[in-house]
């Protein structure tokens, strides 16, 4: 039962990805061609509300549901891996039309060929794990 709330949050997330059409290859094409505000509006709204909310959480030292203080771990500061990894991710995002969350939402939606994308995404992460020490970070 302790995982039920995460199942619920995930289900909610999946519905949002589908109802917003953020899971659609078409919407990703529209975004990378700068021909619609839709995807920018989605991400922009989430980020603006996110910045405000996290500011308030820090300002008022809010606690989580188990009473622990909410702490934010900073991202690893290396810039080379951010730009190189980000660029490779972007190539794949445009090519497959999906980032990791929407890949899984697509499978549930009935786009079964996304299982191929998912399999190769796991393989890609695995390959990174093997090559990690040899890559510039």
């Amino acid at each position: 039962m302790k995982f039920f709330k995460f199942l619920l949050a995930g289900t909610f997330f999946g519905i949002v990805m589908a109802q917003s059409e953020a899971m659609s290859w078409y919407r990703i094409q529209e975004m990378f061609r700068f021909q619609s505000f839709h995807m920018y509006g989605i991400i922009g709204t989430a980020v603006v509300l996110g910045v405000i909310g996290i500011f308030l959480i820090k300002k008022f030292n809010l606690k989580d549901i188990s009473g622990q203080p909410i702490e934010f771990s900073p991202k690893e500061p290396q810039m080379i891996k951010s730009i190189l990894g980000g660029t490779l991710f972007g190539l794949g995002w445009a090519l497959s039309g999906a980032c990791p969350g929407p890949i899984v939402v697509n499978v549930g939606y009935g786009v079964t060929s996304m299982l191929v994308v998912l399999f190769f995404a796991v393989l890609g992460t695995y390959t990174y794990g093997i090559l990690r020490d040899k890559l510039p970070h």
């Binding site: 995982f3 995460f6 619920l8 949050a9 995930g10 997330f13 999946g14 519905i15 949002v16 990805m17 589908a18 109802q19 917003s20 059409e21 953020a22 899971m23 659609s24 078409y26 094409q29 529209e30 990378f32 021909q35 989605i42 991400i43 989430a46 980020v47 996110g50 996290i54 991202k75 290396q78 730009i83 190189l84 990894g85 980000g86 660029t87 490779l88 991710f89 972007g90 190539l91 794949g92 445009a94 090519l95 999906a98 980032c99 990791p100 969350g101 890949i103 899984v104 549930g108 786009v111 191929v116 994308v117 190769f120 995404a121 796991v122 890609g124 992460t125 695995y126 990174y128 093997i130």
Partner: protein, 184 residues
């Protein structure tokens, strides 16, 4: 009711995504979907690699979130969105027509995701290479759209901004420089 059943506007969708992020924060966790790919490696064939040698059970919550995401997609298809055609902008319709794509008849293009397409070498390679780059790139960058673009930018993380710039460099190169050779 129609508002909920029809495709959602950007402001509504964006607000609900931040609600998901805050729900996970108040549950004591972090919104970052691609960590699941690493966890799946640790669960399966990755244990001999140091990067995957950790107790995957600590991420069971996120795997549960992943199962929910698939369930949400199913609910949307069955009871809400139902696979109606994406209402693309005219400019995108024209660009895609020039690449040989029919106007949308549903959520996803048959040209990319039908099993007929998957059974061709090109069709298979598009999905395989696309997936591989997503999985490799997200772990290299330390996050995907949820971890960097939403969680990271919301917390004003400079590495996340750099990663998101990378997402766009890659996406623009693929869309504008590589697609014309891939599709025509």
């Amino acid at each position: 009711m129609d508002f909920i059943l029809n495709p959602w506007p950007w402001w509504f969708s964006g607000a609900l995504i931040s609600a998901v992020m805050f729900a996970l924060i108040f549950f004591g966790k972090t919104f970052g979907f691609s960590s699941n790919l690493r966890t799946i490696c640790a669960m399966t064939f990755g244990r001999r690699v140091k990067f995957f040698d950790f107790d995957w059970r600590e991420n069971t919550w996120n795997l549960t979130f992943l199962v929910g995401a698939a369930l949400g997609g199913w609910i949307s298809y069955q009871y809400m969105h139902g696979g109606i055609a994406v209402d693309l902008s005219d400019a995108t319709l024209r660009d895609l027509a020039a690449l040989g794509f029919a106007a949308p008849s549903g959520m996803q293009p048959e040209e990319v995701f039908s099993w007929d397409s998957l059974m061709t070498l090109k069709g298979f390679m598009v999905l395989a290479v696309g997936g591989f780059l997503v999985g490799f790139g997200t772990r290299y960058a330390g996050g995907c759209t949820s971890g960097h673009a939403i969680s990271g930018l919301s917390n004003l993380q400079l590495p996340s901004l750099v990663a998101v710039i990378g997402f766009f460099i890659g996406g623009l190169v693929m869309t504008h420089l590589i697609f014309p050779y891939l599709y025509s």
